[in-house]
């Protein structure tokens, strides 16, 4: 096995490297060389390739997402804004709430149960990482037509996966969506939202400050999960021997995550960490480079200290592994003993894998050999930025001209038939066949869940303070007019909060689109972002975070533009909420608005 070290990279500058197979463009590879002043080692190449991927670097969306910050009104409620693992808002009484949506679309297409399950697991760790106790989840879902074979293949697993993982974590599922449309054949959307609560003083950030502080990896052992892509590297470094089979599928262990949550909350309560980051996409590559660039600037990591589930993993693979249920914490040496003790109480695997340093080097060694030496910022934040071409697709004008005559029912019989027909469509029909597979009672604080328009949970039993969350997206509107579609989805989600009696406070989003390399899709995306930013400005709501999922398409057919908008609201006394149902006879009915 040939280990590619920094020394070898220097001595052997012209070795050919499989950057294209790893998804890097020639100019991206060239700029890595320029940053380093030499060719990257295979481990460095692995790190850059995954951190500069669309998924991690937002290279196609960044230029548009900027508006969320630029247009935003100043909000006193915003405690932590975009950029951290999840935004945090003040909800009063010393409480802070954090919430975020993420997508796990592609993994759920490949392995529906595990894809959906690990999607829930990932967003829950994001929330936990902020220092918060996760208190509820929601799951906006999209499928092909209900009777399509692809839907039959993916739907049961996705629902069971969301439920299996969320139920086992003890998180009430307080809402979501199930929508069917042709364009989601082969591209189911699995978006998962999590809400967490903490005291202001408990907010944690992803930064590795303080030279001499320890880098601690805790949670599950590292396996070969989700590194199908880097096998090309392994096969190069392993010469022609070829690597063992590497699964592209991540498998979740919700029990380990539940224990990890309780263990972490106990660690937070004793104020034992300086900074913390969960390991999600891009695993250790992401956690080490983000922690280092968020803090003092440098870090030394001994990669051979990472506990492995599969001892045959190469250093490149360990850096890329997306094994679930892991966290990386920065701990002062004086607090490490107590940290280890709490991990032992919860039977959580824990290892010190490195330390924070001054300066600007992320140095990773493998059995004493230096295999990575990079400025961490260049990995985590200085990825490429694209201003992709956009063009309004031709269909926009065509559909705008189209006049569709919808027959309006007028006789009682016609009205009855129409209502029955509508009620029987999968999109409008009762969703309890889904929601009955989710625990909505656990934690004992659920005030509203299905079938209400927004979910609501109590966060203080004595004062009755609570939060409400709603998610909405209307992809048909967004298809016809992406600018207005995003605004309408925002307005609908905010209305769903307001009608429950809560005050909208903050916005998160998950932007699901086709390929950014298609100018038409890119235009839909840009318009949606513009609409959402303008809508938030008009409503005076800050956007606290979100997620972009591109490449949701089969061949050249993209999904409908699906910007899922989540709005969080606060309610001072959950007992005053207004539920959706009419709970007694004799009430008056009013219609508000025009």
């Amino acid at each position: 096995m040939a280990l590619d070290t920094v020394a070898i990279a220097q001595a052997n500058p012209d070795a050919t490297q499989p950057f294209a197979e790893l998804g890097l463009k020639a100019d991206e590879y060239a700029s890595i060389k320029k940053i380093l002043g030499r060719r990257p080692t295979s481990s460095e190449l692995a790190m850059y390739s995954v951190m500069w991927s669309e998924h991690c670097s937002y290279k196609s969306s960044k230029v548009h997402l900027k508006q969320f910050g630029e247009k935003a009104v100043k909000s006193d409620a915003l405690l932590v804004g975009i950029g951290e693992n999840a935004g945090v808002v003040d909800v009063g009484q010393g409480y802070a709430v954090t919430f975020k949506i993420e997508s796990h679309n592609h993994p759920s297409f490949i392995e529906p149960y595990q894809g959906a399950a690990t999607g829930v697991g990932g967003i829950v760790r994001d929330i936990l990482t902020m220092g918060a106790r996760p208190i509820a989840i929601m799951d906006p879902l999209r499928f092909g037509p209900a009777d399509a074979p692809d839907t039959r293949r993916v739907l049961p697993g996705i629902i069971a996966g969301v439920g299996g993982y969320g139920n086992c974590l003890g998180l009430p599922n307080i809402g979501g969506e199930v929508v069917f449309d042709e364009t989601y054949i082969g591209n189911p959307l699995v978006n998962a939202l999590c809400v967490g609560v903490m005291k202001h003083s408990d907010i944690k950030l992803a930064k590795a400050a303080g030279a001499g502080n320890l880098v601690v990896l805790y949670g599950a052992k590292t396996g070969g999960d989700g590194i199908g892509g880097v096998s090309v590297l392994a096969s190069e470094t392993f010469e022609s021997k070829g690597p063992a089979k590497r699964p592209a599928v991540q498998v979740g262990d919700p029990f380990v995550e539940k224990v990890l949550i309780e263990c972490s909350l106990e660690i937070f309560a004793e104020d034992l960490v300086v900074g913390i980051q969960d390991l999600g996409g891009a695993g250790l590559s992401c956690a080490t480079s983000e922690l280092a660039s968020g803090g003092s600037g440098g870090m030394k990591v001994q990669l051979d200290k990472v506990p492995l589930r599969d001892p045959s993993l190469s250093p490149e693979e360990i850096l890329m592994s997306e094994s679930q249920e892991r966290m990386c914490a920065i701990v002062e040496p004086s607090k490490i003993a107590r940290f280890l003790e709490i991990c032992e109480k919860w039977d959580v695997t824990v290892n010190v894998i490195g330390e924070v340093t001054d300066g600007n080097h992320l140095e990773i060694t493998w059995n004493g050999e230096l295999i990575v030496d990079v400025p961490p910022r260049t990995v985590a934040h200085d990825g490429p930025v694209y201003n992709r071409p956009l063009a309004q697709p031709a269909y926009i004008d065509a559909v705008a001209k189209e006049v569709i005559k919808v027959p309006i029912p007028s006789t009682p019989d016609e009205i009855k038939a129409t209502i029955l027909k509508l009620a029987a469509t999968p999109n409008l029909a009762d969703k309890s066949w889904v929601t009955n597979q989710y625990d909505r009672y656990v934690q004992g604080n659920t005030i509203q869940s299905q079938p209400d328009d927004s979910g609501m949970v109590r966060i203080d039993e004595k004062t009755h303070l609570g939060v409400a969350v709603a998610t909405d997206a209307n992809a048909n509107w967004s298809y016809l007019n992406p600018y207005q579609g995003a605004k309408l989805a925002l307005a609908e989600a905010a209305r769903n909060i307001a009608t429950a009696g809560a005050k909208p406070l903050a916005v998160t989003n998950c932007l699901n689109f086709g390929s950014p390399e298609d100018p038409g899709v890119m235009w839909q995306f840009a318009e949606s972002v513009r609409g959402l930013a303008d809508g938030c400005l008009e409503m005076g709501l800050p956007i606290t975070g979100g997620n972009v999922s591109f490449y949701n398409q089969t061949g050249s057919v993209a999904i409908l533009p699906t910007p899922v908008i989540g709005v969080l609201g606060v309610i001072d006394d959950v007992r005053t909420r207004t539920p959706m149902s009419f709970d007694r006879a004799g009430l008056d009915l009013y219609l508000l608005g025009e």
Binding site: G223, R246, V249, D253, F255, D347
Partner: protein
């Protein structure tokens, strides 16, 4: 009457949370024999008479299509008397 047995196990490289939990529980009960435990599924399929080669081929197909998930699992088919 014969019995066809289909054993379905997670592929070796795939995490097996159940097997791991069992492996961790055994020593707590004083059992120290296990280096590793993997947990899978066993299907016992009853067929009329001795299974024919065609039948076994069908079972293979069913194992691939329904009884296992080829993305994460392997299976074996055999006849038990």
């Amino acid at each position: 009457m014969a019995k066809i047995v289909v054993d379905v196990m997670l592929k070796p490289e795939i995490l097996d949370p159940q097997g791991k939990a069992v492996a961790a529980a055994l020593p707590r009960l004083g059992f120290s024999f296990a280096k590793d435990v993997r947990q899978g599924k066993r299907f016992e399929i009853e067929v009329d008479g001795d299974p024919t080669p065609t039948q076994l081929a069908e079972v293979e197909k069913a194992a691939e299509k329904l009884l296992s998930n080829p993305v994460i699992e392997n299976f074996t088919v055999r006849v038990e008397k």
